[in-house]
Symmetry: C2
Subunit: 166 residues, 2 copies
Amino acid sequence: MGCAPRPGPVLVNPLGKQQCPGSGAGKLRGYGHEQCGEGTVSDPRSPSRLDPEIAARLKRDAAGLVPAVAQQYDTGEVLMVGWMDDEALHRTLTTGRCTYWSRSRQEYWVKGETSGHTQQVKSVALDCDGDTLLVKVDQAGGACHTGDRTCFDAAPLPAVVVVVSG
Amino acid sequence: MGCAPRPGPVLVNPLGKQQCPGSGAGKLRGYGHEQCGEGTVSDPRSPSRLDPEIAARLKRDAAGLVPAVAQQYDTGEVLMVGWMDDEALHRTLTTGRCTYWSRSRQEYWVKGETSGHTQQVKSVALDCDGDTLLVKVDQAGGACHTGDRTCFDAAPLPAVVVVVSG
């Protein structure tokens, strides 16, 4: 499992526009892993070129988004949860790189575009009721903006664990 | 990994009320894994007895909810994504059984309470920005209402996978 930045593939912008890695990075808003401003692309959110058959299966929230769970494809680590609208899903499906919608910055966010902590897509699945995505990826370096491998490493909560005997 | 229903622990209702497994199951609303009506408990959502220190760290959506990723603790399978409010998280942390808030039925939902497809809590973690939970569980049987092991088994999406040479 490679934790160092590695050479990435050439990204194809499905909208045919020039991508601007790091655009918007100078003025950060929001919090958490959406805060790093890496690889944001401020294209308009619609219209999306997402396959209409896939779009018809999506059940979006009031903001037009679905949560996307990013999981390391070989170790099974749950790395982070981001949000995708139709266009972010389209880009994720067609570029091989995970692209999210940043709710705090209201921008597309190509994970790792400037930090090098990219997520190369291995597979994408929609859940049974169409309102959640599971994206299996190969994560370079840490997925979390804190430097942690996953966004869940730092804050375990105290939980009762019931042991069933017999 | 046990796929058959197994004897469960005695549940303690943190609100001190009698739980009514199966209540509300006769009149189903919504869709997907929230549709089965298993183990719903129609207690009021507030006030919650969630530890105030944990509550202060939660960043909830407009409906007062955070997504909770349920992952099989030993195999790493991402089983499903449910939603928790403060009280559902409190019950999950204190009873050893995953409890969600059903957005479609507007009820608490003790996973597996009637189907036997319980989720025994192994650990719970909050993510770096406090808006997502990762619950590692021991899932009995299938997590999905369709009978599938996970809610992501049936709907893979076609994705470009970029292979980096060298």
